[in-house]
Amino acid sequence: MSDIGAAALKFAFVAAIYAVVIALLGVRLRRQEMIRSAERATYGVFGLVTIAMVALLYALLAHDFRLQYVASVSSRAMPTFYVIAALWGGQEGSMLPWLWLLAMYSALVVVQNRHRNRELMPYVISTLMTTTLLFLAMLVIVEDPFRQLPHAPRDGQGLNPLLQNPLMVIHPPNLYLGFVGFAVPFAFAIGALASGRLDTQWIRSIRRWTLVAWLFLGVGILLGGQWAYVELGWGGYWAWDPVENASLMPWLTGTAFLHSVMVQEKKGMLKVWNMVLIILTYALSIFGTFLTRSGIIASVHAFAQSSLGPYFLLYLAGILIIAVTLLVKRLPQLRSDHRLESVVSRESSFLFNNLFFVGIMFAVLWGTMFPILSEAVKGVKISVAAPFFNQVNIPLGLGLLFLSGICPLIAWRKASVRNLRRNFLYPFTLSFVITAALYTLGIRHVVALISFAICLFVFGTIVLEFYRGTRARRAVSGGTIWQAFVSLIRRNRRRYGGYIVHFGVVLLFVGITGSSAYQIEQNVVLRPGESARVGAFTLQYDDLTRMIESTHEAFIAKLTVGRDGKYLTTLYPEKRLYFAQNQPTTEVALRTSLFEDLYIIMAGFEPSKIVTFKVFVNPLVFWMWMGGLVMVMGTVIAIWPERRPSGPGRQHTAGQVEMTAIQGTN
């Protein structure tokens, strides 16, 4: 079976090369059949890569330890669920699922555009297939998942126990879906540039693709943070680690792109800027992959130094050169259709928000790359620690949050300043009143207060928007408040879905503020029977027991937790020793509530059963994950397809123009 998989990959390699060549030939020679052939080749690549995936999956499940990869990431004792996850949990494996996703996306794009965007598609296909080639080359030449060992070991090494966690199963795929997802908008951008079809048609075609990629990337980042929090045991969720930064940067420019694209759709402005943004977003996601996999920067995501680095860099340099050349060539055709009418307009607030996003991205890039740059320039590595990132990004992040509150209050084109001031008043008052209340209740941390104030302000503007919109809707078509509300959202999915996403961001900020500003960290050393007090909690250490499971040996401490004299819960922090590994792992004991998390690890124990516990009280963490969920909901609403109106005689032209009925606004 694995031989079939290996052959499939090699055939896919050939097919991808063919697709690139024939697509470009077809558009040059103006022969439709060549382009159709390229489409078939794209489907072929998808089919072949799927066969390879199935072959590898089969090998994993059948414990075919003759394959080096299977032997290094799985073992007989591993639960089936994690054996499947080992497909992406290792160095070699994680390229194949990525490749498969890319191949699937490419095939999907081709199917979707069978009768549309005909001028762009040859270039789109060749761009996507070139990217596919990158991964295929790495898989076939450097890190073959089907490489065989001289003789099959009896059992595999098994996956690092830290990775055996449901979060770890979904975190990489989400990130891949995000990274790979941006290849599609990028391919269309190249298509628009290469073909000269620079109107907003390419932007409309990629809208949902971009949103989906952005959504998955965002979810992937949050899941990574959640995994770090629950699994790693240092009490936090984000360390400004280079690999974390690598995933954040494309997300930042991607978010900027999502906003500025609306300006181009409505007014035909910022065309060059949008091109730059999508190229940057895609380049950053490839760069992020490179940072993660090449081991070039020391990180807790310590993939071994691999030889994949040069491939990524070469590809990155190649696409940047091509993209920038095309962009410069088409510069004259990318002039704005309209001018900015007023600084007090939604267009300009989007422009400002873009500057913030790019600013934060640049700060993160600077901090992440500084060690390498300084080594190249000065010969000595200078490291940038977490305080830098926090110092720079907190003010910028808060500024951005504030903007997201003001922006809904401003009209497109030109807002009346008097109206703006009046609209500003309600949310501002709400924010002021509640912040003052918080202050009197004892919240004195300055940055936390500012953050909460802004969060409340933004929340106020969102509520106001929904209120006004519902009222306007009712004025036009009557009905109950609920009917008007639902109808409002249905007809303006993008706008109101967006507001819901902003609300999710507010919750995220609330969670981050609480857990950053008011975290309690305490070490307690206890004998069995002793108690300690941390924050408002009383912890009584009952006993330490030793258990032997099939895969590991565990030392489990029993802690009875009380609050205000009443019993709350029992927590069991553990230290585990997996038989296949020879290091201990720490299992965090976590109790979550709406107000705070109680987070406990065993820092060490003695044969006398004396245990040192490290205890954290992290306020408001729940709201971070809640915020993430709300963001997902909002994005789904924004993506949800609207009923296509069937008007007679609407399509005269070879390319379809997306006609939306006179219903919704954005």
């Binding site: 079939i4 499939a8 059949e33 009209a411 497109w412 032209t653």
Partner: protein
């Protein structure tokens, strides 16, 4: 590598080659990329869409209180003028679109007349919120107050 493996691999290769080569052999008829006329029509249609979108946005922004009456009337007239222009251009370029657009033109012209005349002094105001109104308005666009039925 067993014999079955070899057979499957050969089968794979054949399928791919056949699937990929078939369009070349069949030689689809050559369809020329858009004529100049088509491109122009498409460009104008896109512009029309953009303008309609802008009008919708403006109406909604007015209804939700972000634009005051004066700015609203001013901007809307401007947009309607541009829209009528585009429609006329479309007429000239593509006669097929003409019938469709005639109706739209009439509606726009009607609205244009209405907005320009209602700029006069005989305008009523909403009794509840004081927003100046146009003729035959059933609901106040700002506060939703039901008015006299016309």
């Amino acid at each position: 590598m067993t014999a079955i493996d070899v057979a499957i691999i050969c089968l794979m290769a054949i399928c791919v080659v056949v699937g990929v080569g078939e369009p070349l052999v069949r030689r689809l008829s050559y369809r020329p990329h858009g004529r100049e006329c088509d491109n122009e029509t498409e460009r104008l249609l896109l512009q029309k869409e953009m303008l309609y979108g802008a009008i919708r946005d403006l109406d909604f922004d007015f209804q939700t209180g972000k634009v005051d009456q004066k700015d609203y009337t001013e901007l809307r007239q401007q947009l309607e003028r541009e829209a009528v222009q585009i429609l006329r251009q479309l007429d000239a370029v593509d006669p097929l679109v003409a019938f469709d657009n005639e109706l739209e033109q009439q509606v726009l012209a009607l609205r244009q007349r209405r907005t320009s005349t209602s700029c006069g002094s005989d305008r009523e105001s909403c009794s509840s919120c004081g927003t100046p109104l146009e003729e035959d308005e059933n609901f106040c666009p700002f506060c939703g107050q039901a008015l006299r039925l016309s």
